[in-house]
Symmetry: D2
Subunit: 405 residues, 4 copies
């Protein structure tokens, strides 16, 4: 338990560090229903530990604040009512300071719990739930960054989250000088899903077999420069490049470029810019393109004479590769988020964590520059709707064997 | 100018006093598109002085911040672009402190300007615009209260704005013990619109003649207790009591009671409650009913066998009355907001202040418990759409002569 | 009663004549929620006679079809439920032939009733209701034309309703050669509302006094040529010409011209066209502009340095004029549709005919080329929302005295 | 070609037979954007032959009507503009008779073409396209029935399409007396996709290998009686049974039962009813439940302790089974509609037929009582969004091996 307590402190502290550049105002506001205020992330991750661990293991549990059970319940029907998602930004109270006090209180109680001697079965259950809570916390660390980036980008002043390039979005540069090459893979049965000892989410199980036909995979992610060629070739104006639903979306939203790009014809000068966590920057042509939706990724692939990989292909290829499979940008797959054969959700309310979202979402694999250290793994399944653009999501191309000369 | 400078300081300080119970978070968030964040009110009223006065009168005018011209322009097309109204709450930057610094800077420059010796014509123009800016500031003082009340009411914690009943909503109690009586008025030509020396908005002019048929007016506003009888008589379930558009709105919004009332069947006990600036309170049956829309006021009047007054009737009656015509609740009239015969808007961009809203809005007369001292007058025309409920708006009944026994 | 029976037959026949150029398909479809299918008009006007007259006066009344009570009830809450307005076009059954049989059946029964000898009081009541039903029928005759015109205009084939110009939209030509002149009116008390013996709707009463300040009125309606000058002067691109709500509407709907105009840059050649009941025609520059909304009319008036008249001004001026006050295009007034002082709706469900619509609508006066002969009168109050464009609605300008040189 | 000409006549005649119970009004109206008017189906299937065959093979091709190219283009961007889908029901012209004349004209020209002697390559291409057009026609035959059923169900009169049970929805009865049993399948590599000589759509190719873990499949479809048990057990009120997006949909739409069921508490008596093509009928408890969305099917499966099959499982099981895999109801799979590995769309505009819809849709397998004879096959992939309810779609349950005792 000592090791777990240490991990707990480290990860919880990292969350606090991420909010340090932010004012109480920055932490309170919700820029769109899909995003949440930083304060809500701070409180909800704490609620997770309080509700799923303290309430179960503390002998005379008393909630920190009775209203928080509803206020900071994201979507667990098994726990009860939830504050409406689109109204998370209206909660100017509890104040940020109160939420930080909430964090401190739950941290202390959780650490006290971890210091106690428990029956082995109880200790095991506690350990499993704490680890789940920490992985959950790490997911929200990344979401805090994507959500705050979206909020700042909606502000005409385009304020940077950070002055320097140090903390995140570093390492996004790919070896762009190197030409994109294709690695071939033979057809065969592959094993997909979590293996080994470490932590995993229920949606990564059971490990099972899939048959993969022969294919090849791009050696690196699509770069900003490559994506710019698509934009400048009229990619956003040609319906034949898009899925029908994607084209409808492009027209309704009047899209002409990635979410955070600013066109050459706008302010400043003749070069493209991109809003980053360090503010508005010249578009880095050699870095991996990010903040792309599934629809954009899929259209780009068609334009490039390729396609997106399936989950199984990606997992197969990533196992034997290093490069930029992790730590740069999440990579869209053409696989709809669905249960693996034999999938069983966790028992109880935590079983709602993953399973109930398995419809109309597409799986992303790998991890991004905003993913916390230690959170990435080969079998990890991230998922978002086909229109989601505010994540650090990019493109790795694939090809079926027949199509590779 | 000395007197004007003193008024300027007094009124600007009063705005600051109103925001003192609020945190930076409270000041930043927008609860609905119709409402604005307190921080925006603080900045926009300052923008008004900067844009319409400093920019014109300061010899070497430099804006406090070039982006503010767009950010805090509410709706003046003559000034240029405007930040979208529904996105006022996304501006976590400039921070509250920066906006307060903006206020301080503009205040100093404005006072410096008022201390200068100007040519008589210039002095006159300056004086007119400063007074307009102060009246504008006072309008926003009331809006700050209605908007912050709406925000706090959206929070499940129902936090009070103030602990005590002292500052606003005082005096809302009507002489409820006194039975409602009817005062009769003879038919004849009445003069409507601003007369005399004080300040007035362009929409109160020109003073003109209207013929008013004989009518009678209620001696006091409708009380919460009386409105409760309407609610309990099924008022929100009977289509025959409502205008067709009002009934459609009641059904779509599933309305069953005034905006801030909490039904007897909800939490606590068997009594009705009302959310106030002092938090949730027992419904004060003897006080004037407020936060009613035109549709609700109109339906109540029909249920009560009466009607709403016209503007001309109200102004005629109010001139000879004291009682609660002012200082309790704005009073809906059945008059659509329209130009008086011969109306001419102010020249230039300030001409957009009033005139361009003269459609699909209904006039309210009097003033409310939240109206700043000295801001009310007989000819004042407030206006809101028929569905607006978040203002301190109530009901004074009228009757045509034929219908009074 | 004989005279009434004759009027009944004449007016009912005229409705049938209007539908003769239409197929069953044309009669069935609903082009937008505001419009109704011709078949629905045929049935609803029949329902009116059946429900408000036969059901009351026939000794052993049996409905023609029990479901019709709901299906063809437009908005009478006092009668009971209504088929949803936006779904009137889904009723492919009853077929057109069945509806025509319904008409024939009700006509025969109504005529039989009119042939009976009744007690004087009953006879009087019957006569009043039949006349109301006939006026109602005539209103729907005009709506049938505006609704079918809208439907045909939505069809890319732009099929004409009629081959020749004979039946409607004739006489729309104004004496365009004559320059527009202004007729002045002195200030004074005028009487407004119905006077005399003929039929009137409850909303035209009671006749009452209004004081009208001096004003002048345009000698004729605004022509297509004049409105074209507004269009070509950038009228639809200048926010300063519009009410704020009107400008928002123009931008949302991307409006650039009147509803049925086809721009010079489109098909054919370099001249503007207008879709009419005779199909697509060259824009008749000397005819009165029609199919304009209140917002368009109001913006045009501002551009032209004038304004729209009030109801009282219009009625005052029309009483002493002939010209094109009637029979060309309905004329928007700046008066919101509101009850006259002392207004009392008819008793019973027919009391819902007019009164409950008195909010957020603007009054139009006069009559149009599509108004049935004998249906127009000086005190008639037509009304539509400020965005309505599919009526035969045009512009007569007015000016306050001070503004006329 | 003679055989193809005969098939052509037979299938085209069958379309005409399907519309015979319908009036011109029935054929014209569109009940929702997802459905199309029967007249549009009649014209669009004709347009398909005219555009993709006559235009290519007729030496001096002249379109039947130049406007039809746009009017009846469903979604082929490669052909050009399309009439907006939601406005298909506004086309009262061309009249039904004109569309029937269009059909006759194109039929004659197509048959003439088939009677000509062509170069072998041309003959082959013609033959492929005619067969594609006929399969397309058969798809629209089923859609005509589902769309007309939806239209009639929206009519409060609930008119039947047919008097007798003869033509469609026959054979929907399952061997309900027989208890539901489970057939087990061993894990292994299965081949999925079209094999053999007959017609197939591009989305059924290439035939490829998939690894299927061991599972078991229900011996028959879920019956109305079984689904009723789910309804009466509160299935539509328990969020834990639904995917999150499904639960949101259930609440927004206020769903409590399948699309065409009428609750026991409604009209008539105490028994459940179902609207069918033969009108309102007692709910046939032993027949297969239909008109269920993916969300409803998935929730039912969870309630029943099972799951939906994947496409590969279904195709594997169906190959060795007979029973009700075909001809009763389409069966939802848990497989998102996606390209098979190596999938290549047809060249040219017909390549838009299938591929561009491969997102946010779920595959249905088998066929229904409304599927034309000869149109079903093992590898057929039907697809609809997770909310689609107006198709003849039902449920076959599956289980992973581990979960079967």
């Amino acid at each position: 338990m000592h090791k777990l307590a240490k991990a707990f402190s480290t990860i919880r502290d990292q969350t606090s560090r991420l909010m340090q550049p932010l004012s109480a105002e920055d932490c309170c506001v919700q820029s769109m229903p899909d995003a949440s205020p930083a304060k809500w992330h701070l409180a909800h991750t704490t609620w997770f530990f309080e509700t799923f661990i303290l309430e179960r293991f503390e002998p005379s549990f008393q909630p920190f604040h009775p209203a928080f059970r509803v206020l900071f319940n994201s979507y667990y029907e098994g726990v009860g009512e939830q504050h409406p998602r689109a109204q998370r930004g209206l909660m100017t109270r509890p104040a940020l300071d109160e939420v930080l006090a909430y964090r401190q209180n739950v941290d202390q109680r959780l650490l006290a719990l971890l210091g106690q001697t428990l029956a082995p079965e109880q200790a095991e259950q506690l350990s499993v739930l704490v680890e789940l809570g920490l992985q959950h916390e790490q997911q929200h660390q990344e979401l805090m960054l994507t959500d705050i980036k979206h909020l700042l980008a909606m502000n005409p002043l385009l304020p940077p989250y950070l002055a320097s390039h140090a903390v995140v979005e570093a390492g996004a540069a790919t070896a762009a000088a190197a030409a994109l090459s294709w690695q071939s893979y033979e057809a065969g049965i592959v094993e997909v899903g979590h293996a080994g000892q470490g932590f995993f989410f229920d949606n990564e199980t059971p490990r099972h077999r899939q048959f993969v036909e022969s294919f090849s995979m791009a050696s690196r992610l699509v770069s900003n420069g490559e994506y710019l060629a698509f934009v400048e070739d009229g990619g956003y104006r040609n319906p034949l490049l898009w899925l029908a639903a994607g084209w409808e979306w492009v027209q309704q939203q009047k899209l002409t470029r990635p979410l955070y790009w600013q066109s050459a014809h706008a302010q400043f000068d003749s070069a493209w810019r991109e809003f980053t966590l360090q503010g508005l920057q010249p578009l880095a042509l050699h870095e991996a393109a990010t903040h792309l939706s599934f629809f954009e990724a899929e259209a780009y692939a068609r334009w490039a004479g390729a396609r997106l990989p399936t989950e199984a292909e990606w997992e197969y290829a990533a196992a034997s590769q290093s490069a930029d499979y992790f730590g740069v940008a999440w990579q869209w797959t053409t696989s709809s988020y669905a249960p693996y054969p034999g999938y069983v959700a966790l028992p109880g309310a935590v079983g709602e964590y993953n399973g109930k979202f398995m419809v109309n979402q597409y799986v992303l694999r790998g991890s991004s520059s905003a993913t916390p250290a230690g959170h990435a793994r080969l079998s990890y399944r991230n998922f978002f709707p086909a229109t989601a653009r505010w994540q650090f999501s990019g493109i790795r191309l694939a090809r079926s064997a027949e199509r590779t000369p």
